[in-house]
């Protein structure tokens, strides 16, 4: 297990280095004039040259690359062009929002996906199975932003008109300030992220469960007189979860995408909102900072998912 983890972490570092380098190429090497972009359209050539010098853009590319990596390793992400505050503090202030959103959404999507898959698989071809299938199809086809907008319209606006003000339409309350209000403000965003992705998991779980439930050891477990509940959840679900975990690792990027969209719809002051905002403000250091941080998070989360996978299925560790 240790060897597996060490190798996985090393691979993760390589991936992270690749991502960071792609970002560097995108922003500093690609044929476009960053200095001109920063200085503004009406800047004089002198200003552009000054900006170039200040950012070190006149130095050789490899030299710039070294400085860039050095700054990243030290956690120095530079300063926002827009309001001169440090990128690290900008990002740091928004991390709690994004984490609350991402973790809650992921937990909810796994719960909904796996539970509905099990419900469908234990009674194949029943009305429950069909209902799960129809919902899965609709949510699978639904872009996240559309579901968010639909929730906003019906569960926020129409319910407010009807006098039910349970769902807030926007804003964020810190977990430490008021846990209940925190969950209440995040409920619609969580549901949006969860339902859109849960559909895939529901299908995956259903297919895997149907396979596993036909295996001999399940018949043995039933013959021993175990209760059905125990057979389904202890014996079958455990091995049916392997494809679910694999898919979860692949979908971490999707989770991040969902977070970006949902933050922008529900007015949550998180990293996704910051990313879109800084693109409209042409605030390069902030964009770079969010992309690098998000890549690092994904790499770390991928390692965690692989570790879970290895725990669930011992065959993985051998390879």
């Amino acid at each position: 297990m240790t060897r597996f983890l060490v190798r996985r972490v090393l691979l993760g570092l390589v991936v992270l280095w690749a991502l960071v380098s792609v970002v560097f190429v995108m922003f500093f090497v690609a044929p476009h004039d960053v200095a001109r972009l920063i200085a503004g359209r009406q800047a004089s050539p002198d200003t552009v040259a000054a900006v170039k010098r200040r950012l070190g853009l006149d130095r050789p590319v490899l030299d710039q690359y070294g400085t860039y990596l050095g700054h990243l390793v030290k956690g120095n992400l530079g300063y926002s062009f827009y309001n001169s505050s440090s990128v690290r503090s900008l990002i740091w202030a928004r991390v709690p929002v994004t984490f609350s959103l991402a973790i809650g959404g992921a937990v909810l999507w796994l719960l909904i996906g796996v539970a509905s898959g099990v419900i469908a698989a234990t009674r194949p071809r029943s009305w429950r199975d069909r209902a799960v299938t129809v919902f899965a199809l609709v949510f699978y086809s639904m872009p996240a932003f559309l579901l968010g907008v639909i929730f906003l319209y019906f569960l926020f606006f129409r319910l407010h008109l009807a006098g039910i003000t349970f769902f807030p339409g926007s804003g964020y309350v810190a977990l430490s300030a008021n846990p209940l209000a925190w969950a209440q403000h995040l409920l619609l965003p969580w549901l949006t992220i969860a339902l859109v992705t849960a559909a895939t998991y529901s299908r995956l779980t259903r297919a895997a469960m149907l396979d596993v439930l036909g295996e001999d050891y399940i018949r043995t477990a039933r013959a021993k007189g175990l209760r059905e509940r125990r057979v389904v959840y202890r014996h079958a679900l455990r091995s049916a979860l392997t494809p679910v975990v694999t898919q979860f690792g692949i979908d971490l990027g999707t989770l991040l995408g969902g977070v970006i969209i949902v933050e922008n719809i529900f007015g949550l002051p998180g990293l996704g909102q910051l990313a879109v905002l800084s693109v409209t403000q042409q605030d390069q250091p902030v964009i770079i900072g969010t992309v690098v941080l998000a890549s690092a998070c994904i790499v770390v989360a991928n390692i965690a998912v692989d570790a879970c996978y290895a725990l669930l299925d011992s065959r993985v560790r051998v390879h």
Binding site: V15, A18, L19, V22, V23, M26, F27, A30, H32, P124, R125, T133, A136, L137, V138, Y140, S141, M142, P143, A144, F145, L146, V149, I150, L152, Y153, F157, R203, A207, G249, I250, L252, G253, L256, G257, I260, I261, N264, I265, G272, A275, V276, S278, V279, T280, Q282, Q284, I287, I288, T290, V291, A294, S295, I298, V299, N302
Partner: protein, 317 residues
């Protein structure tokens, strides 16, 4: 069910009596026959054809409605307060915040969505097939490198990278198509690589090699045709994903630039007025959902027709 129809067909009036002469049917022919009998597939395909017609005939719709996609109707398009007007005789699906006809704009939006969906899918599938084929066929170091590369792309936080990229090169339809294709080909590549790995061990590939066929010939003449079934399935399932992705980019203001109408940027505009103008939100939203839903249903049916024993995503007989 299908066996029964077969029997009825044998008993059918045009056959007269006695068994019909035996006719060889290729796997593609069999799949086509299965697909034609699938009522859901026919329904979904009809909806897609209707949407494609709407896209193609958008200028005609604009002509009949009497308003261009970007024309602002100051006379009937806005209420005295300057707000969008609901569905009425002048504008069948109402108007947007600038007094433009929603129906006409939804029709023009279909052009962008379908173009993006189809272009991305063909681009992604071509690249995915080439790289997957190369990785699977050559194996060794090439395979390791290409597979790792595909893994990295698949684990990219793609929406964020798309946003970053658009911030540099500026938003446009071409950029959106390129970005989406770049993040979509790797999943096709993985499937193709896996299939190639098993096909290249088949006897007919060995036979071709012993007859002196070169690598390129084996890859494209002997292996590629056997990959077409999964690739076709992927093609149909990539289209709705690409349409949704383009709509998302446009929704965030990073795809097609206004005033060109797309379903995504219409929904973004409508979001500012949803409390007073539900039609403005409903029309592009419904168009988008119906389109992705139909493509997914069709893709699922295509998968079933080509591989009846395989796993279907949404339906099971």
């Amino acid at each position: 069910m299908s066996a029964l129809t077969e029997l009825e067909h044998l008993d059918g009036s045009e056959a007269g009596f006695g068994p019909e002469p035996i006719e060889g049917r290729s796997p593609w022919r069999l799949a086509w026959d299965r697909l034609r009998r699938d009522r859901v597939a026919i329904g979904a395909a009809s909806v897609i054809v209707l949407i494609a017609l709407m896209a193609i005939l958008a200028p005609l719709i604009a002509h009949l409605a009497g308003h261009g996609p970007d024309a602002q109707d100051f006379e009937h398009g806005l209420s005295p307060e300057g707000l969008p007007r609901g569905p009425n005789g002048n504008h069948l699906l109402g108007t947007d915040d600038l007094g433009r006809d929603v129906l006409v704009r939804v029709a023009y939006g279909a052009q962008t969505s379908l173009l993006a969906g189809v272009a991305v899918s063909f681009l992604a599938v071509s690249v995915g097939v080439l790289i997957g084929l190369a990785a699977g066929y050559f194996g060794g170091a090439a395979d390791t490198f290409l597979s790792r590369f595909m893994d990295v792309i698949l684990s990219f936080p793609f929406l964020l990278f798309a946003i970053a990229l658009v911030s540099i090169v500026g938003p446009s339809l071409g950029v959106a198509i390129g970005v989406i294709a770049f993040f979509s080909w790797a999943s096709v590549g993985r499937i193709v690589r896996g299939q190639t790995l098993s096909i290249k061990e088949k006897e007919y590939v060995e036979a071709a090699r012993s007859l002196g066929a070169g690598d390129l010939r084996i890859m494209f003449v002997d292996i590629l045709p056997n990959l077409l079934a999964p690739v076709l399935v992927y093609l149909t399932l990539l289209i709705p994903a690409a349409i949704a992705f383009e709509a998302t980019l446009s929704f965030l203001g990073l795809g097609v630039v206004p005033p060109t109408p797309t379903w995504g940027n219409m929904i973004a505009d409508a979001l500012k007025y949803y409390q007073v103008a539900w039609w403005f939100l409903l029309a592009p939203g419904a168009a988008l959902l119906v389109t992705t839903l139909s493509f997914n249903l069709l893709g699922d049916s295509v998968r079933d027709a080509l591989d009846p024993r395989g796993e279907r995503l949404f339906r099971r007989r």
